[in-house]
Symmetry: D2
Subunit: 345 residues, 4 copies
């Protein structure tokens, strides 16, 4: 089989470097071009020195992509920038997997309300497939444009999806208390990711207004076929990578913990990266991998279901899930190139 | 004024060392005796070497305490051990502030159900005063035995007390998602506090069954005069000290965020260590101090109140609050010896 | 006694906030003015929110300082900026303690060679006293301008000074391997102090060329009366604060570890903040305090002396030592306001 | 090709789990048996839960190893225990790679002097090959028993070997200041690896007496053909994994930095895991991989060579180097199964 030709658009951030880390050892693809407007001409290993001897190709301008006969491009661009690329390139022969938030929201209006920014390509929103393989494999298989899910939504939706699909819980009483590592804030230096502001520290942020709220709520509505209300509160952990979400739901019928565990196992029986865990998982249990680990609890005393889910925000929450989507698009084994074992400790 | 004579029972843990850190610079007390059965005969600075040149007194056996004409003793003992000391010494002339959980629960039966251990001194449970100065100052003033609140309960009760007192919220729908530093697990080496299990990691634990659940629920019932149901989930942060609690409550009447902020300011107008914060607080904002910082949010979209509260678990959650209780007992300024300024970073 | 009137010039960095943390509880001074050009008009607690309720005074422009009848000002300014203030204000009645590097170097030429910047006030260099109380108390007592030592030099000079004074070692073979917390790099966001570049990481930097090399070498030459050669290598630790220096020296006469320990104890017998430690100290042993802990080792096998010294870079390495210098200048007890006990953990 | 049959003796520690992490994706081997005396009968994923779904085989007693027709066993046992296994199994047909210190030292006498323990199998010491592929490939190829190098020695020897081989430096003046992550201290809970003793902290330890001193000194003597004196000081970093060694050497002839860099490049031209770095490397630059990154500096001012080297102590310092040795023993590509890319951040 000829290797598929891949472009990575945007190289200087964590998503770009994680894509290279994952794809470099992928048996069925080659990285044909990596672009960066600010560092074009330099080597990838000049920007990320730990790639010295591993990935030494030169960074190119985005203008050169048409020279490479690409099968697929990953967009590792900020939201607001991705939409321009997609608009300009939607008609081309390569598939697009966009890792920004630009095509995850259901309508131009919603996007503009939560992102406080004009959306210039509503047609893309209509055509984009939400790239969560555990829920939408069939659509992904034939998509032209995939909106790779947000990091928080990945951890939150996988945690709740079985309960909402199975009509187990009240759609209007979903509380998601999430905790993320710092890489979620990106690689640019700013007070939010200053070492001494984060180390030995912890805080909540974005209360009531975080953009991932609407992304989660939309998908939960879609899979349950009913309107939903999601309360989502992110917090910032003093760790590099990892998300743990604690989700509180209220049952609308009699349940037992055992029944729920079995239901989850069935629901995810064909999902190679979802592990239903006996113990409460830790974020290091999935570090560097594409796993989402889920633990299910039911508290009889209070009649509350509590789901604990963990992912690596840069892998299952970004680059790894994107490669999983690519594998499905190309008809490959979903796990190709994603056999990393958790680095713990 | 003669300095009050203080005994510290139990010296090898964090609570013991924090009590010395706080009391050593207190203007109105002297530390007459520090006990340790396992290290008796050694100096305090042999056990905690960073006290070299600061506190060099010898550790004594508990059997010697009657030689010191003490005004008050702090018990820095594990639960299950404290009750023995209290039973044996309740009739003596010194006051007792117990930092363990042995006298925080409302009945012998409840204690035994949540602590999975027999309680041998029910009389102490009846006589003990719950030492939260912001709620029970008058009772503290005349107490013989003070049960110093747990660390999680301090952060959680101060966050919710105004709302329950003011009948703003549904007593049966209180979700407290708490995150604590590692020192909450004590100084003894075990897998829970092994560096490589904690560093760059995060997990939930004690779901459905943590002992602090019933302590919180009891006090919220007491101040609201009505039964309550508390869902409490602790998580372990990769930090030394600090607790942040995110509390979700459901209003039972029309509210606005502004009204709630003002209500909190009134409620705590005489509480020198509660700061109603404009911004969301971080745990480093109170590190090393007796402050509890609280931030109030109301989400109209979901009709949910979200309170974020932070404390230092070893200070306001243990040694500092104990000293605050001592100050009240002795008729001193509540802030004596507690003028530390947050160490940030 | 009337409280002395203090000005703090420069409020937005860590040095400014540590000065306020230390001075706020100092019994004999009052903070009359705090300046910031970029944040003038805002409150100090707007810039450092953890001071809410503790220090709420407004920040002023530096132009207003003449209105306050100051006894002393601390300069918490970057190097290159301090020299301008000193030049403009040297004739005024207040004393100046400069926490930057501008007046620590022995000559305009040396400064310009190591700092790669013109020095505009050579007269200040001549008049400045190097503010290390353990070595230069008498000069400090009558100084008009004090150059507060650098953080690395404080840990390194205190470690080696007895040996060089006592002619125990080869002046030309001094290797200082130092490790510092991140706050040494300042509060401005940049890749060096980005959380994910520092956390779970470690590196050397500034090999061969760090400015503190010449500061250390100068002082060691001064106290030994002979020329010296210092090899100084700094490293960046994933911690907020603290410096540990491991210094390797070669004896020029027969020594024993015991003899050296006693010599150090004598040498520092009147230094309240130097603790000769039996055990190897850790940086948390001095965290938040003005202590410098020193441990002395002699390896017979290799004929090498190894000194391990630790300080808190923001306290003994900056604000605390500055206050110690102020106390000496004012004829106060050297320890006034500096009774903090290490925060460990 | 038939896959080689591998045994891992000792499963509960970090070395055991890293061996599985590396070998599980190795194309030419299968893990036939993993032993643990304390946990025999449980699954590997019961001991290391993050292997759920990845490695579920049962742990066996060491007594069963003869049932598996093994080609090679890795000993992930404590020193003092390994020697017993080797003595009992030296005559068997499988090769042995011992990851403990039991066969790294050159003589029974030296071992007993530095390890303070009797060595019961001197014959093994004589036959063992020191498994550092960059220096001893030919011997490794035909070895029956390989002593896998210590973590510190790996970083230190690779840093200095070219200089000693090339007679560039004084053998008697080698100072190695090393800093290691906590996993070097093993998985057992003890004060040394207690979170709150390590986090935001730093210390030196083992001055003058660390066992790796003699291991380093022996090998440097062997490759230089002359006696050497090594001063080795380890320090404990608040990180999980990684070692950085800063080595100071004194030239005995005229050198330039450029010449040295070229000499290193030549020396390691056939070593796929040694990277001569332009910049100073950080420990995260090699995290999770078998690389050793080296940076070379010469300070003309002091006539000192400073080498900075970094490794992952659990990979190049343990399991990865062991697999590299196995590859050589089996005549495989040295890099088989070792294509991990640094996880950074």
């Amino acid at each position: 089989m000829n290797k598929k030709k891949i472009g990575i658009i945007g190289a200087t951030g964590y998503t770009g470097s994680e894509l290279v880390r994952t794809l470099k050892n992928h048996p069925y693809v080659e990285i044909s071009i990596i672009t960066s407007e600010s560092r074009a001409g330099e080597k990838f290993s000049d920007v990320h020195p730990f790639f010295q001897g591993i990935e030494e190709q030169k960074l190119r301008s985005i203008k050169e992509i048409d020279n490479y006969d690409l099968d697929l491009v990953f967009l590792a661009l900020p939201h607001g920038v991705s939409m321009n690329f997609v608009k300009d390139n939607a008609h081309k022969s390569f598939k697009i997997i966009d890792l920004s938030g630009d095509f995850r929201i259901k309508s131009k209006e919603q996007y503009e309300a939560w992102y406080k920014m004009e959306h210039i390509y509503a047609e893309g929103i209509e055509n984009a497939v939400f790239g969560m393989p555990e829920l939408f494999t069939d659509k992904i298989r034939t998509a032209e444009l995939i909106a790779n899910p947000g990091c928080f939504p990945t951890s939150a939706i996988l945690a709740s999806a079985p309960l909402l699909t199975g009509k187990y819980v009240d759609n209007k009483s979903i509380i998601i208390d999430s905790k993320t590592g710092v890489t979620g804030a990106g690689i640019k230096s700013k007070p939010t990711n200053l070492y001494s502001n984060v180390n030995d520290n912890f805080k909540a942020y974005g209360l009531k207004s975080h953009r991932h709220t609407i992304e989660i709520q939309n998908i939960l509505e879609e899979i349950s076929g009913d309107s939903a209300l999601v309360q989502f509160t992110p917090h910032l952990l003093p760790v590099d990578r990892g998300i743990l979400s604690t989700t509180y739901l209220r049952p609308v019928k009699n349940v037992s913990e055992n029944e729920l565990v079995n239901f989850y196992k069935d629901f995810y029986s064909k999902a190679p990266f979802v592990r239903i865990r006996r113990q409460i998982p830790t974020i290091k249990d999935v570090r560097g991998t594409n796993y989402c680990d889920i633990n299910i609890n039911y508290d009889e005393r209070t009649n509350t279901i509590i789901i604990v889910s963990v992912i690596d925000n840069l892998v299952k929450g970004a680059a790894g899930q994107a490669v999983q989507n690519m594998n499905i698009l190309f008809g490959l084994d979903e796990k190709s190139g994603l056999n990393q074992i958790p680095m713990n400790p």
